[in-house]
């Protein structure tokens, strides 16, 4: 089994020194992510303004697109800006997995209950 206490990627520890070369490479990646986040935001705004909420199916699809775009943005912020992607695997999972597990469950149960409350309200007043 792979030992995970070995220093695999040491580029963000206290004593890590980046050279000018490293800096250039990192900055290039950062600029790419900046442009990407900006473009996604513009697309979201465009969608929010342009699409009307008349046809139920289209609006559901648009809502889903919003959620996916948001998750893409969040992933880039966490993995690149907060450089969790460059940290060790086990730190990454300790941060992300418990959170994802809990929040997905909470969302499922809470939205389900909310809808049920509305249905009951509409049925019985």
């Amino acid at each position: 089994m792979e030992r995970d206490d070995l220093i695999v990627n040491d580029s963000y520890s206290i004593n890590a020194r980046h050279s000018e070369e490293d800096g250039k490479k990192i900055r290039k990646k950062l600029y790419f992510v900046t442009v990407l986040l900006t473009v996604i935001t513009i697309i979201e705004i465009f969608m929010g303004v342009a699409f009307k909420r008349n046809a139920t199916f289209t609006w559901e699809a648009i809502k889903l697109t919003f959620v996916i775009l948001t998750l893409v943005k969040a992933a880039y912020i966490v993995l690149v800006f907060m450089h969790l992607g460059d940290e060790r695997k086990n730190l990454k999972y300790v941060v992300l997995l418990p959170y994802a597990l809990f929040i997905l469950y909470l969302l499922f149960i809470a939205l389900y209950e909310g809808l049920s409350a509305q249905t009951l309200h509409n049925m019985f007043g």
């Binding site: 900055r27 900006t38 907060m82 939205l111």
Partner: protein
Amino acid sequence: MTKLAAKFQLLMSGHAEAVSKDKLWGGGMSPFSISYGKMMMWYFLVSDALTFGGLLTAYGVIRHASSEPWPVGEQVFESLPGLPGSFPLIYVALMTFILIISSVTMVLAVEAGHRMDKKGVIKWMGYTVLGGIFFLSSQAWEWSHFIHGSGGGFQISTPMSVTGQDESGASITMDLNGGSWVHMTSEVGHAYEHALEHGDHIEVKGGNLIITPAHHDAHGEDAHGAHAEHGHDAHAEAGPTSIPLEIVLNKFVLEHKDGKDYRKIKVTGAEAEKVMNAMSSHTLVFGANLKKNEYAVQQQYANFFFFITGFHGFHVMQGVVINIVIFLMALRGVFEKRGHYEMVEKVGLFWHFVDLVWVFVFTFFYLV
């Protein structure tokens, strides 16, 4: 000799590479290969993310459970400071962009820190602080706009059928239930609010809102003389003002029935007078506060706006304060002496987190 022995011991314990001492924990190992401080920052962020996740989920529950129409983001937030007209979501988009850019300058400061580039850290931290202050000011305006509102809303007391024009000018008749929420346009609403504040007499007649200033009551004939002498209170002398009534049905919600768009139906003249006369006066509200709001019948909408954006704004404020401290420390060369810029990175994590939360607030509060 001791160095060699240490290396030997390390080899024996299975380490392929030397682990620098500052990363080792009490057990002589470093499971995450990061310093204690950075890891605790990550744990704090996870717990804070749970708080925000809980708030946004609560918002979702209430919205799903609500059987009243829920206000729509692009109709509530469609103003720019100092400009007339409708700019749906543009201001929020600007705020989002500012926060993303300040996040970028933050990560550039972190990057400069890894190169021990003191000047770079100072420059980028400075920009980050400016971006944060810009965002906070924008949010202050947004709150002020939300609180003051545009026009005013009220519930009608009796069911009625109202005819008005939709945005294309086509005539549409709507059956309103008793308790339906309707809006005065901003011109009528502001005049109404102003008149209420000054205790002026308000009358609805001939499709107009007629406001008679209550100026002579308090001072009698003296007020007239005083006016002539000092030349103030010209408004009081102007006599009754008449403003054409304009009511908007479904201003902040969307309603679609049979393929027809029932939002923003403008009602004027005698029809508007009918709606105004059906107003249950205790429901009249201008803008929003913690008890009622003009955007919707249910109060949760405004409460969630205040709490979620307020709690996020509070985080931004903390972030700006901490960023200023780090900026000053970098300026004084504290990190240069310490030999590393890890503090910038830790604070950076918090600042990126604030941006991350805003990405979600933006989607679930303004877009969806």
